[in-house]
């Protein structure tokens, strides 16, 4: 119900020695669901807290629609937040927890509040729990109550700080669907912080990736997955993560070969790739996702490269084949491909699937300037 | 012994921190000024902090006023508490006479302030080595009685409290609930009991010939301290995850090893609080001590009380105040230094369930 704009938002701690959030620009459309991911300590929580008004930005602004709310106190912002550990008021019943926001920010009578909360609770399947205290609830129920509390106020912006990280896998999947459903139903703008790959990929309309306080890329999950703008994003998104090989490019302008002597790799790029991008004779990092690697159990010598199987982890639906190409080189294959450890195998990948990152800047050289520019808009 | 060492280390660390506080204060003052100048903080923001701090300071001073007042009284001349011309005695008359009196004339350290020093005697007394006081004609004073008394109380108290608290917290056994319930009930009955049961106690002690016995009196104080402190320590121990002990067990530690290496170190703040409370139980009580003991065994608390009632109708105030200040000083310092431990140890947050 509100467009949220972060305008060169910055937060420093300890008199500037720690830059938790480094001039972030981000626009979240009305009703959009944006997930924010990044490694621990990258500033996700801090960003969220600035939007909620719990932390004062060092510089920059937060706008809801066109109103600048940077100096507005948390209690006046039309936001609701779901905390990692739920932060339910331990002495209040579920009803009390859920109606608290209404009590504080509306003029509803107790009657009306109760009605609204009951309705909400029924929707979320926790109507039976209204008179229980939080410590009588299971993790999933607590999570639902926290959600219900946040929704009950009908906020314009929804903030989530790793709300599912304390739940077990099964419950997590369930709650994920629930949150998405609710968000769509109410059409609330949402910002969702997580460090869980899968959540990040599946839940958001768009995905924002932070590292070291800086925004790396923003985009649709599949876009980000397919076209990571830099090595960091490429390595961070996707599980198991992308394999990287240090390579040299040899080019004479019309043809180019990617070469890694350690890995025994010599990959000739097609003209299309050579002409479309500016390649230099320089070190690069080649990236290839595990699922884009095909294992040839009986190598004929035509494969992209040859390698030895280190270990095979069958996870049922797939097999993870660890190869000796370099440390942590992993191919994901179907369960029927089951080489033994020590086997010599062939490794094949397609030109279309490879990523090439500048060894210095880490940027993907196959992307155009515009694509890169668009990635953080 | 190591406990004593670490306690001393703690106290000295605190005192150093306290002494260097002004420096840190100046640093933060400078920072504030800098922040103000560069506009990082608004004047309103700073003044809010200053006002709150001043308010806190005023509150502290107000609360400590009685102690301050009596401290000035201890520096005054003469023996009177009041003077008709104002609250505080005339500062030009301040002197340390009263403290001199306490140290060199009262029975505080040595009887009649006749100082001596301990000398080891080989082969004397019951053991191989004993010691006696040399250089004093009258012998050691009330301080030594107090210390002896408090040592007995602390040793006996800890010997009873710590194992029991552990058992209550970690074991289930017949009657556990009942006894604990009883202890909680009795936590507070002890306080006023001493006066109530004074005579009963006296006849009890005297019928067994146990009056005028510092050791027994020390045990008595320990007994009084048991319910509350056992409960306190049990509550504290409840908040220590049991997995530490299990880890130690799996590591091959025997029960005693576990107690020594895991339980005791982890319970330190709780033990510190219990130590202070048990100490105070033996240190401050005077009514029963006075009834049961003969003058040569009087601890400081009784001497203090006697000083208060020494005059036929009035108290020699300067001496009384000086005596009391010296008497309470160690405890006050310990309190001041152990504030963090006391706060941790008295945390009943774990009771929240």
């Amino acid at each position: 119900m509100a467009r949220v704009t972060l305008d060169t938002l910055r937060k420093e701690f300890d008199r500037g020695t720690i830059v938790a959030v480094d001039d972030i620009d981000l626009e979240i459309e009305d009703g959009e669901f944006v997930t924010v991911v990044g490694p621990s300590g990258c500033g996700k929580t801090t960003t969220l807290r600035m939007v909620a008004g719990l932390e004062e930005p060092t510089s920059g602004a937060v706008r809801f629609d066109d109103e600048d709310v940077t100096d507005m106190h948390a209690k006046e912002r039309p936001v609701a937040m779901v905390f990692q550990n739920y932060a339910l008021y331990p002495h209040k019943t579920v009803l009390g927890n859920m109606e608290f926001g209404l009590k504080m920010s509306t003029d509803m009578t107790a009657e009306e509040r109760r009605e609204r909360v009951t309705e909400m609770a029924e929707m979320m399947g926790i109507a039976d729990l209204l008179d229980d205290k939080p410590d009588e609830l299971s993790g999933g129920q607590k999570q639902r109550v926290a959600l219900g509390r946040a929704i009950a106020r009908e906020p314009e912006v929804f903030l989530f700080d790793e709300p599912l990280s304390n739940l077990d896998a099964k419950l997590r999947t369930e709650m994920r669907a629930e949150i998405q459903k609710l968000q769509k139903e109410f059409g609330v703008t949402a910002m969702y912080v997580t460090h869980d790959q899968e959540e990040a990929m599946t839940m958001g309309d768009r995905l924002a990736i932070l590292n070291d306080g800086e925004l790396q890329q923003v985009g649709k999950p599949t876009e980000v997955y397919e076209n990571p703008v830099n090595e960091f994003v490429a390595g961070f998104i996707g599980s198991p993560s992308m394999n990287f090989i240090d390579v040299e490019v040899e080019t004479d302008g019309s043809s180019a070969t990617i070469r890694s002597d350690d890995a025994g790799l010599a990959f000739e790029l097609s003209d299309e790739y050579v002409t479309g991008h500016e390649l230099k004779n320089a070190p690069y990092t080649l990236g290839i996702r595990p699922e884009n690697i095909r294992i040839v159990e009986h190598p004929t010598g035509d494969e992209t490269l040859a390698s030895t199987v280190e270990v095979v982890e069958p996870i049922g639906s797939d097999n993870y084949v660890h190869l000796t190409v370099n440390e942590d080189f992993l191919a994901r294959s179907t369960p029927d491909v089951l080489p033994e450890a020590g086997d010599e195998v062939g490794v094949v990948f397609e030109e279309a699937d490879i990523h090439l990152f500048d060894a210095e800047t880490g940027e993907d050289v196959f992307l155009t300037e515009e694509e890169i520019a668009a990635a953080v808009a | 012994m190591s406990a004593l060492q670490s306690a001393l280390a703690l106290i000295s660390a605190k005192l150093i921190a306290f002494v260097t506080a002004p420096k840190r204060f100046v640093v933060s003052l400078r920072r504030t000024v800098y922040d103000l100048r560069t506009g990082r903080r608004t004047p309103w923001d700073v003044s809010k902090s200053v006002l709150m701090t001043l308010f806190g300071l005023a509150m502290v001073l107000l609360l400590l006023f009685p102690l301050f007042w009596i401290f000035t009284a201890s520096l005054a001349e003469g023996t009177r508490l009041f003077n008709t011309s104002g609250i505080f005695p005339d500062p030009s008359t301040y002197n340390l006479g009263a403290y001199r009196w306490v140290v060199f004339e009262s029975d505080f350290f040595f009887v009649d302030g006749d100082w001596g020093y301990p000398q080891l005697v080989l082969g004397g007394g019951s053991g191989l080595v004993s010691f006696r006081w040399v250089g004093t004609e009258t012998g050691p004073g009330a301080l030594f009685n107090s210390l002896y008394l408090v040592s007995v109380t602390i040793v006996a108290g800890f010997a009873m409290i710590v194992p029991a608290a552990y058992a209550f917290s970690r074991r289930s056994f017949v009657g556990r609930k009942r006894i604990l319930y009883g202890y909680v009930l009795f936590t507070q009955i002890g306080a006023g009991l001493s006066i109530a049961t004074l005579v009963a106690l006296y006849s009890l002690f005297s019928s067994y010939g146990l009056t005028n016995n510092l050791f027994i009196l020390g045990l008595f104080y320990a007994a009084g301290a048991i319910p509350f402190n056992t409960w306190l320590l049990k509550t504290y121990m409840d908040n220590i995850p049991i997995s530490y002990e299990e880890a130690a067990m799996v590591d091959g530690a025997s029960f005693l090893d576990t107690i020594r290496e895991i339980i005791i170190p982890l319970t330190k703040p709780g033990l510190a609080v219990v130590l202070i409370f048990v100490w105070l139980a033996g240190w401050n009580e005077f009514i029963i001590a006075q009834t049961l003991l003969s003058p040569e065994n009087y601890p400081l608390s009784v001497e203090l009380y006697n000083l208060a009632t020494e005059g036929r109708f009035s108290t020699p105030w300067t001496r009384f105040a000086a005596f009391a200040n010296l008497f309470a000083l160690p405890v006050a310092i310990v309190y001041f230094a152990a504030q963090r431990s006391v706060e941790d140890g008295l945390s009943f947050g774990g009771m929240e369930g």
């Binding site: 339910l88 | 194992p163 058992a167 970690r170 556990r176 007994a223 608390s301 405890v331």
Partner: protein, 319 residues
């Protein structure tokens, strides 16, 4: 084997009891026995301490209790004592919560030191501090409080403030019933606040910051946050500290005794003072014992109620 073990009432699971027993024995012999003995005295016609110790007292049944219940002084004393407990408790709680909040506030610089300073009174012996307070409350114009009030009057009247803001010095803090009562309460509050402050501060520090933030995001202002987050979090510890200091206040002896022996004219005799005076001044030892037994019973009931309904012993139960 296991079944056999389960059948024996005291199994080796119960060795924890062995750790507890010594304390129980020591406690009972020094603390319970005297109470039983006191109860015995309350059934005799003992007149003075010597007649108890020397064995010159005869059993007279419950006469002392009958006499007690018909003594108007007993009821005055009981009422005054409860009033004292209640009033001082209310003030203690407000004061201690206030101090704890202030000395835990982010904006207060050096609060650690202030907190350390504020609990120092706990280390001073009661007989000393109470005697000092007695001095401060002197009725005389040159008593500390009267002097302060006099100066305050001076300042106020120089500001030509209305009469109503002035005090009628000297106030007879120890000579009027309610003035003396007020003096008792003030002193009791001063004696008990450090303990409460420590406990409340510990509780405050355990309040998760998220709760405050959740309330903020929910739109709650300072007061509502205090009501919904802070207050519930410190409710239990405050209750706990209240019960403990309340029970101590009920047994307060030194304050009234040192101040004015429960005066003026026996109007403020708290229950223990009453019992003590019956024994000491009136040589009614049996009666005195009865009074004290009643006092112990009352405090026992109070503690029982606290344990029962205040959940004081929560966590006592088996897990």
């Amino acid at each position: 084997m296991a079944r056999l073990r389960a059948a024996v009432p005291f199994s080796n699971r119960d060795w924890g009891l062995l750790l507890v027993i010594p304390g129980v024995i020591l406690f009972s012999s020094f603390m319970l026995y005297p109470i039983v003995y006191l109860f015995y005295i309350s059934l005799t016609d003992a007149t003075f301490a010597g007649s108890v110790i020397g064995g010159g007292a005869d059993l007279i049944g419950l006469d002392n209790y009958v006499q007690l219940l018909s003594d108007s002084q007993f009821w005055t004393s009981m009422t005054t004592t409860w009033l004292f407990v209640a009033v001082s408790l209310v003030i203690k709680v407000f004061l201690a919560v206030g101090i704890a909040l202030l000395l835990n506030h982010a904006r207060v610089f050096g609060k650690r030191y202030m907190r350390a300073a504020v609990i120092v009174p706990l280390g001073f012996p009661g007989i000393f501090t109470i005697t000092v307070w007695r001095g401060m409350f002197s009725d005389a114009r040159f008593g500390v409080f009267n002097t302060i009030l006099g100066r305050y009057n001076g300042v106020m009247s120089s500001l030509s403030a209305p009469e109503i803001l002035l005090f009628d010095v000297p106030i007879g803090f120890l000579s009027g019933r309610w003035e003396a009562f007020f003096a008792y309460v003030t002193t009791e509050v001063w004696l008990a606040y450090p303990f409460m402050v420590i406990i409340i501060v510990s509780a405050l520090q355990d309040v998760p910051r998220e709760l405050h933030e959740a309330a903020m995001v929910d739109g709650a202002g300072f007061l509502e946050r205090f009501r919904t987050v802070t207050l519930p979090a410190i409710r239990r510890p405050v209750l706990f500290a209240s019960i403990l200091t309340g029970a101590t206040a009920f047994q307060q002896f030194l304050i009234p005794w040192v101040f004015n022996q429960g005066g003026p004219a026996r109007q403020n005799e708290l229950i223990i003072v009453y019992g003590y005076r019956e024994a000491i001044s009136f040589n009614e030892f049996g009666l005195s014992a009865a009074i004290l037994i009643v006092a112990i019973a009352v405090i026992g009931l109070f503690m029982y109620a606290a344990v029962r309904y205040g959940g004081l012993a929560e966590g006592v139960g088996d897990e």
